[in-house]
């Protein structure tokens, strides 16, 4: 169980993910709709974990991840990704992301990954 910041540019995805995380007993620290907001919210909320969408307006997920990792090298960031984005995810992992979840989200897999990353 941990506090989680959800970053995605669509309210739909955020809601979906939020409900999955709730069902796993996690606390939602906050939400952000783009990379810029994500960084600001991370500083403010200091969540245990961030779920980060890759494709977003303004600042994308990879750049936001890098900034967050600079601010806090121990930050746990899980990328939200889709089939076909392997290269992006690899880039994210190399940049310090701790895990990834694949859309369309399957609740058990999402919760497993979150649990594992929180435990790491």
């Amino acid at each position: 169980m941990g506090t989680i910041l959800i970053v995605d540019d669509t309210l739909f995805m955020r809601t979906l993910l939020k409900n999955i995380l709730f069902s796993g007993g996690h606390t939602i620290a906050g939400e952000a709709a783009n990379g810029e907001e994500a960084v600001a919210k991370y500083k403010e909320l200091k969540p245990d974990l961030v779920t980060m969408d890759v494709v977003m307006p303004k600042v994308n997920g990879i750049e936001a991840l890098k900034t967050i990792k600079q601010l806090d090298p121990a930050a746990r960031v899980v990328m939200c990704t889709a089939v076909g984005q392997e290269q992006m995810v690899k880039l994210a992992i190399k940049s310090g992301a701790k895990g990834y979840i694949v859309k369309p989200f399957q609740a058990p897999k999402v919760l497993e990954e979150i649990k594992n990353v929180l435990a790491s």
Partner: protein, 655 residues
């Protein structure tokens, strides 16, 4: 599917935004390469794909996925956008819109078959040498040349690293998506604990996607077997085999805990205070709920009037004060509700560039479309009714207004025509202007057509003023188009446009200069729900006349009345005014003493009434559909004393 039912409306709402974004940037891209547009398109399609997949709308996902593949190539510069491709993609967006309509109505997009479009995109992808979106799915292991099968056989085993040497086999779960990424995570976690000496397949190969699910490696680490196993054993890792290959150089394996990152301890801060979470500043509200609130506000307005009347009758001072307090709150609530219901015109404007582009392309015309004032706000109900007429006018402007490029050149104009749509607020009205720099309306052609259609006699036509001739355009069954095209002329004429605008309590006006172009001006009330009316009395019955239609109130002298043809007229100062008797509506009265002079556009006429009761703000409730069209009445209102009073509609009354 049912577990996602709760997200349906949210899905539709956001997908529509993304759809709109997609269309607009596709059009933007037609003007020339624009990296921002490409990125935006990619993002919108990507989001549409992801959301539809999450909801289980397979057909929509398939379509979006293929579109995304296409854009991936354009985005990374492997292919360029062409007119044909743009057309196909726009057809795809049309289908997406239909799918969204279907989904909104409770369907699952399967009634709209994307096969044809997906096929077209796939063949385009085939021509542009794309096997897949990002990584060609190469059969993994076979490509790696003579790799050692067992670990420990690696040619160079560096000895400089501290700790014992381990040999590991990591197997990624077979149902894992992106097995290579899982492997990379495991490898990265291991790298944090020691040094990897050999790896099969190599990290580079995994990076390129050449991975079949099993990785063998050797590494030196002081972290200990358990710590290494834990680091590698993440999500979707089916198994991790680990064994030590040589005698430990330094027996520190038990100090695994020391490796634990120092930050770990500080990390467990109390979760950021929960009250900071509640900073949602906007929320989506179902429009039916908003309508319901509006109805309640309207009821309040009516009952406020009733209370006021009771207080006046009984002369209770304390109640008067209380009522004036209530009144203030109700007024504020009412104006707030009005504001909430206002939405910017860009809501419907944004769809129009696509329309212009399609019509222009169909007609082989070149048109520059300019929009201004999209931020002007209108009540939602007005907006709803405005969409179709506006669409029709825009189609007309391109189809009938703008000339073919060659014709324009001959006339000494630029090849490219301009259609300008602008909106602004003017005191109590919103004015929308649609201007084209086309040929203008050919008045003689209009007259000729009207005569041909038997709408008017030839001699009468000859005497018509320009203004009157233009009025003919708005008569039912009139169309100057030489042939019925796919674009306009769908049996919907300007008469329907006019009627729709009038049903919104608006007016439409046309200005045209031959050879220079035309301007259609729509004048609309920003809101229709609450109207200022004058309450009048005829034969002891009450009627409400919208203040906006009234120009003057005068004394009525019976002896000043004359009969011309079938109608009565009266003189008011030097003006001859037609009299509208409301005999049919309320019965004939011989006690009329007051004339209400009303005006619709430039036509003035007058209504004789017995008495004027006063001015009031009322809520106009439209008449139910099954009553049919009622000329002269726009709806009814309930006054404070419970009396139901018809509200006159001067526009239709004069016809």
């Amino acid at each position: 599917m049912s577990e996602f039912e709760q997200y349906r409306s949210l899905f539709v709402a956001e997908s529509r935004e993304n759809h709109e974004n997609l269309v607009n940037f596709l059009l933007e891209l037609e003007k020339g390469t624009d990296q921002n547009a490409i990125d935006e398109i990619f993002r919108s399609i990507h989001t549409l794909k992801g959301s539809s997949a999450s909801m289980g709308f397979a057909d929509m996902e398939r379509l979006c996925h293929t579109m995304e593949d296409v854009f991936q190539l354009i985005r990374n510069g492997s292919a360029v956008m062409t007119k044909d491709l743009s057309n196909t993609l726009l057809s795809c967006t049309d289908l997406i819109e239909e799918m969204l309509d279907d989904i909104e109505a409770g369907g699952d997009s399967s009634s709209k078959n994307p096969d044809k479009l997906v096929g077209e995109l796939k063949s385009w992808l085939g021509q542009h040498g794309a096997a897949g979106p990002e990584k060609p799915k190469a059969p993994a292991a076979q490509k790696i040349p003579d790799a050692p099968e067992e670990c420990g056989q690696s040619p160079e085993i560096p000895t400089s690293d501290a700790g014992p040497e381990y040999c590991m086999t990591i197997v990624v779960a077979p149902d894992c998506m992106m097995k290579d990424v899982r492997a990379l995570i495991a490898i990265q976690n291991l790298e944090a604990l020691g040094t990897i000496h050999t790896m099969q397949p190599s990290k580079e190969a995994i990076d390129e996607g050449k991975f079949d699910g099993t990785v063998n490696l050797t590494m030196a680490s002081e972290a200990g077997e358990e710590a290494l196993k834990t680091a590698a054993l993440g999500t979707e890792i089916a198994s991790v085999d680990i064994r030590q290959t040589e005698a430990p150089a330094a027996p520190q394996a038990t100090e695994a805990a020391a490796v634990k990152k120092p930050q770990e301890a500080e990390k467990k801060q109390p979760p950021a205070s929960a009250d900071k979470n509640r900073e949602i500043k906007n929320l989506r509200v179902d429009i039916t709920q908003l309508d319901h609130i509006m109805n309640l506000v309207e009821d309040l307005v009516i009952n406020r009037g009733r209370l006021k009347q009771i207080a006046e009758e009984h002369k209770i001072k304390e109640m008067d004060e209380a009522i004036s307090m209530v009144e203030r709150s109700v007024s504020e609530l009412q104006s707030l509700m009005m504001t909430i219901r206002m939405i910017p015109l860009s809501h419907i404007f944004n769809r129009l560039p696509r329309v212009v582009r399609d019509v222009a392309q169909y007609d082989h015309k070149e048109v520059e479309f300019i929009m201004e004032g999209g931020e002007t706000e209108l009540d939602r109900s007005v907006m709803d009714g405005l969409n179709d007429p506006l669409l029709h006018l825009i189609r007309n402007a391109v189809n009938h207004g703008i000339e073919a490029p060659e014709v324009r050149e001959k006339a000494g104009k630029a090849r490219k025509g301009t259609v300008r749509l602008s909106a602004h607020r003017d005191r109590d009205n919103v004015i929308i202007e649609l201007t084209d720099d086309g040929a203008g309306i050919n008045i003689e052609k209009v007259k000729k057509k009207a005569v041909e259609k038997g709408m008017i006699a030839a001699d009468a036509a000859a005497t018509l003023s320009t203004e009157q001739a233009i009025d003919l355009l708005f008569q039912p069954g009139f169309s100057t188009a030489d042939k019925i095209t796919d674009i306009s002329g769908r049996g919907v004429g300007l008469d329907v446009v006019k009627r729709s605008i009038e049903s919104l309590k608006g007016t439409i006006k046309v200005d045209t200069v031959p050879g220079k172009g035309s301007t259609f001006e729509l004048l609309l009330p920003p809101t229709m729900a609450i109207v200022d009316v004058m309450i009048v009395r005829i034969c002891n019955r009450r009627l409400a006349i919208p203040i906006s239609s009234i120009v003057e109130v005068a004394n009525f002298k019976k002896d000043g009345m004359h009969r011309i043809g079938k109608g009565d007229v009266t003189m008011l100062r030097d003006e001859v005014l037609q009299i509208l008797w409301l005999n049919e509506m309320v019965g004939s009265s011989d006690r009329c003493e007051i004339l209400i002079v009303v005006q619709y556009q430039k036509r003035k006429c007058c209504i004789p009434v017995d008495a004027v009761e006063g001015k009031q703000e009322v809520v106009v409730k439209p008449l139910s559909n099954f009553i049919g069209t009622t000329k002269g009445i726009s709806g009814v209102t309930i006054l404070g004393d419970g009396d139901v009073v018809p509200v006159l509609d001067i526009n239709t009354m004069q016809e």
